[in-house]
């Protein structure tokens, strides 16, 4: 039950943030979904790595941030629907470029997040050593 409440809170804000961003409009290329998905992948990479390697986080907080906020912030269904809409409108080039760029940028962002978690933790460790 605690997990479900935590997920609810995270997911509420995740969906609201995504929706707020999606209301900005940039012509036929679905930039807002791309942005949300790439940013979410970066944050997930960063957070999972930090949790796994360096910071102890309660299961409830982890559910709020990961299962709730980030998973609800990013979306797969709109991604697919946008590809179909592009195909229907006959914008074939964008319909092909959109998923390819989503995948490549998403993977890059995730890996960048993981790397950045490493950098942050190294800095933290150095500071701890200096304190001692």
């Amino acid at each position: 039950m605690k997990n479900i409440i935590a997920i609810s809170i995270g997911a509420f804000f995740g969906a609201v943030c995504r929706f707020a961003i999606s209301r900005l409009n940039f012509g036929s290329f679905p930039l807002t979904t791309l942005f949300v998905n790439v940013l979410g992948s970066f944050i997930l990479g960063l957070i999972t790595e930090i949790i796994l390697e360096h910071i102890r986080m309660t299961e409830t907080l982890r559910h709020m941030i990961i299962t709730g906020f980030i998973s609800s912030f990013t979306t797969f269904s709109s991604f697919i629907l946008e590809i179909i809409e592009l195909l229907i409108r006959g914008e074939i080039t964008i319909a092909i470029l959109y998923p390819i760029s989503s995948i490549l940028l998403g993977l890059l962002a995730f890996i960048l997040g993981v790397r950045m978690a490493g950098v942050i933790s190294v800095k933290q460790r150095k500071e701890e050593c200096e304190l001692i």
Binding site: N3, I4, I7, S8, G10, A11, F12, F13, G14, A15, V16, R18, F19, A20, S22, V36, N37, G40, S41, I43, L44, G45, T48, H63, T67, G68, I70, S71, S72, F73, T74, T75, F76, S77, S78, F79, I80, L81, I83, I84, P99, S102, I103, G106, L107, A109, F110, I111, V114
Partner: protein, 120 residues
């Protein structure tokens, strides 16, 4: 007001995703099976409901909220990276390709169903 409707939809979508995930975890530990199932189902539903005539508020609740919250892209990325880290490049590609390909097919079926192409 519209933000609260979307937020509530997202909440319900995420809880459903969590519950479905828990059920699936009993059957498989393989990366991405749950995410795959959720994303394909969500794609079918978004195809269907985006085509049907429904009241605007309900549309926001269902499409931007519930289905947006139910399906997830970040976990999809993390599953691909897990396969890549295990040097299972083929599995990573198959998972990625079929998620998108079958997602498009599922959404297309949803659209066709909503347009009344097949009548039960």
């Amino acid at each position: 007001m519209i933000y609260i409707i979307v937020g509530l939809g997202g909440t319900i979508g995420a809880i459903l995703r969590y519950l479905v995930g828990n059920i699936f975890k009993k059957f498989t530990e393989k990366h991405g099976i749950v995410t795959f199932f959720i994303n394909i189902t969500g794609s079918f539903l978004i195809g269907y409901f985006s085509t049907r005539q429904i009241p605007e508020e309900f549309r926001y609740f269902l499409i931007a909220g519930l289905l947006g919250g139910f399906t997830t892209y970040s976990t999809f990325m993390s599953d691909i990276v897990k396969y890549l880290r295990e040097r299972k490049h083929f599995e990573a590609f198959v998972y990625m390709f079929f998620s998108i390909f079958l997602g498009i097919i599922a959404a297309g079926l949803g659209i066709a169903l909503a347009n009344g192409i097949w009548k039960a």
